[in-house]
Symmetry: C2
Subunit: 235 residues, 2 copies
């Protein structure tokens, strides 16, 4: 057997740029390691830099009175953190927490503004991503209101799997409960149900997706809606 190959991680947004522009972006920032559970930003904090995850995963969490907060966005290598800057605002509206360790391209705010000012295609692309984020946010709002925990958990697992490009990843039920805005017990029940159906396997924070098709069936339509929204804009 050959040793485990490690593909060069990329960011799908940056991949949309012409080669020379992509190089420019890579040169404009530096590759940093996102450390699990690091809080990159809190609401109201001034944005010092933006992140284009190559492998890492960033959760966007909105604080809410009477609760521990709620995840309203999940950013992997299909997106970026720092939309407000592209919209002319330099503060974060949400808490940004590293949910999966890995590399990310980090670009200073000032430099990023220079780049989007200089490069129309880049700016256009970020704007379109902002629209996708807007759509997904609206979808999530409805999902959180109407859909049962099990379906939302299935959706979350699929979204995460898409972003880590791996059937297995690490996340405890405690953490899932925080993301979904439910009690841990609720996650235990839902996850147990999904496991009984043979869709996933988990043990002490190690989750493996066994049956992607089945998981899609168990998830609410919001998963598909999210993907469609992305695909409609980026093809």
């Amino acid at each position: 057997m050959s040793p485990p190959q490690r593909a060069i991680a990329t960011n799908r947004l940056l991949d949309l740029l012409p080669a020379h522009e992509r190089k420019r972006m890579l040169a404009a920032g530096e590759t940093v390691d996102l450390v699990f559970a690091d809080v990159l930003y809190t609401p109201g904090e001034t944005l010092r830099e933006v992140y284009f995850p190559l492998e890492g995963l960033i959760s966007l969490i909105v604080p809410i009175e009477g609760a521990n907060g709620l995840e309203v966005g999940l950013i992997g290598n299909e997106g970026m953190f720092g939309i407000p800057l592209a919209l002319g605002v330099d503060v974060s509206a949400v808490r940004a927490v590293v949910q999966g360790a890995g590399l990310a391209l980090c670009i200073g705010a000032a430099q990023f503004l220079v780049e989007i000012g200089r490069n129309k295609v880049l700016h256009q692309m970020i704007d379109r991503y902002a629209f996708v984020h807007l759509s997904q946010l609206a979808q999530t709002a409805g999902c959180n209101r109407f859909h049962v925990v099990e379906a939302r958990l299935a959706r979350w697992l699929l979204m995460t799997q898409d972003r880590v490009h791996n059937d297995a990843f690490h996340v405890t039920q405690e953490f899932l409960a925080l993301m979904l805005g439910v009690r841990r017990v609720g996650v235990t029940r839902a996850a147990g149900s999904l496991q009984n159906l043979g869709l996933i396997h988990y043990s002490r924070g190690n989750i493996a997706v066994l049956d992607r098709r089945g998981l899609k069936a168990a998830a609410c339509g919001c998963y598909k809606a999210d993907r469609d929204a992305y695909a409609r804009v980026f093809g």
Copy 2:
């Protein structure tokens, strides 16, 4: 007594523009009458025009499987409908329904694109508004998840009052139930409670806010959070 005066309605976004630019915008479009319950757009529909409400009220509703949809945004004269166009996307992500009749400035999509291409201040302003909308969407997502009907109803009434610039307006419990994503009976209970507290009065669709302070106290903090988000960006 003097006859009821009718102030010239304005749009707070357009008011932020220099006088000559504001005139230009008014000339670029035409003033139309938003008709109650009209569906301006459905999800996926191509945007033919944008609206800057002067008096009218537009509800943004996201379709959601297993439910009748959920309101995720409310646009009065403090905002505009058509954010996607400013972000380089020409389809609506939501259903846009006229929730309060009144005048609005309507500008064709092509013309609007010309204007924001020509006028940096305008484009910047719309982008910032998009950010505010993003923040409010995140807040709403959490609010819908965690807060009880009564508090959400109070928030909705305050938001609407702000946008119609009037203590009284017309909205049935049936409609409120749709907006809040609950049963009509749930609205009956919550509205009855607010009325018992002397905060509002209602009868057959005619709602009057009697005690704004009290209503703020009854609402969740999301109302204040929304206003703060707007104020932080537009001062």
